[in-house]
Symmetry: C2
DNA sequence: TATTATTAGTAACGATTGTTACCAGTTACC
DNA sequence: GGTAACTGGTAACAATCGTTACTAATAATA
């Protein structure tokens, strides 16, 4: 007997009962792992090589893709909350990747856009990021890819449905 | 003209050029969103209703499923780093969900197991978590589910391949 | 035109996290 | 045996993060 308990009433054997949950097969867990690995592969790029946080990368991508936007719009578009956007934008203003003009029509809002420097950075990261995506997706057959693509959206929808009702 | 720049050299229009990256279609981003929504739906359960952090939930599931393990084994099995496991386990020891015996054969290691209370908790959360998983996956046809299941593993593999080489 | 509600953005705080370094125990090698 | 290299686990610090509450500006209602 290699162990002795120091608390009473410990359970003995793994249950393995009906309806028992296996972490390895549990889809929410697997999706967390998948996202962690895939995002990690891209984060290595914008993080280590270009010194951006995840939030900064998303802001860069949002503005690079869509042009000028307010912080709130970036927030909606990039699934970051407004505080994350605020912090990311401030660091990017300091780095002169982003410039912010005040909206004369609504003086609460700042209209943000990439500077030339920001555009250049986006133009450099973008193809590298897409190449990594392609590499990862090359594990799939065209048929699998088509299905996967469709399914991801379906699941996002369905999960949101569940979230709403607690 | 509703705006005026306060920094020089801002870019004008969105590029929309060849190889430009669209966040909404970029798979690493979509997977982050998917995992966030799906994990969120389950986190609502173990978090709001049972007061567990994500790390605690994984430790509970690992021990509930596999029986006694050391912290290192939990770490490997649950994709948590060893510090996360250490912290989670300590809170769970305080809550008497977990009990830890010293391994006589290697006195560095603590062999951890669920207490009766821990087992009971796992037994209560487990079916609810599985029900949420089922609900979400019910968005898919059986065929889609089979493909998705296979594809998730393939992508995890491939992404890890990429991670290794920087 | 007051008065209330709403919205954009941020400051400031406490909580959570990642990192580094460390200790104690164990294994490998001379 | 002695010494060096590793491993399991954690303490302690800094950095990051989420939350709450706030300011300034606008919109809605009377």
């Amino acid at each position: 007997m290699p162990t002795q308990d120091d608390a009473p009433e410990t359970a003995e054997a793994p249950p393995e009962a009906l309806g028992a949950l296996s972490l390895e097969r549990f889809m929410p867990y697997r999706l967390a792992v998948l996202a962690h690995e895939v995002s990690g592969a891209v984060a290595q790029l914008y993080g280590e090589r270009f010194n951006l946080s995840r939030a900064e990368w998303r802001v860069l991508a949002a503005l690079g893709e869509r042009g000028a936007m307010t912080a709130r719009e970036i927030s909606d578009y990039s699934t970051l909350d407004k505080m994350q956007v605020s912090r990311a934008v401030n660091r990017m203003l300091a780095e002169k990747l982003v410039a912010g003009g005040l909206d004369a029509a609504d003086r609460r809002r700042k209209i943000l856009r990439l500077t030339k420097k920001g555009e250049t950075l986006f133009g450099r990261i973008s193809p590298l990021a897409l190449a990594r995506e392609s590499f990862i997706l090359s594990a799939l057959t065209p048929e699998e890819l088509r299905t996967f693509d469709k399914v991801v959206d379906k699941l996002i929808q369905k999960a949101r449905e569940l979230q709403q009702w607690g």
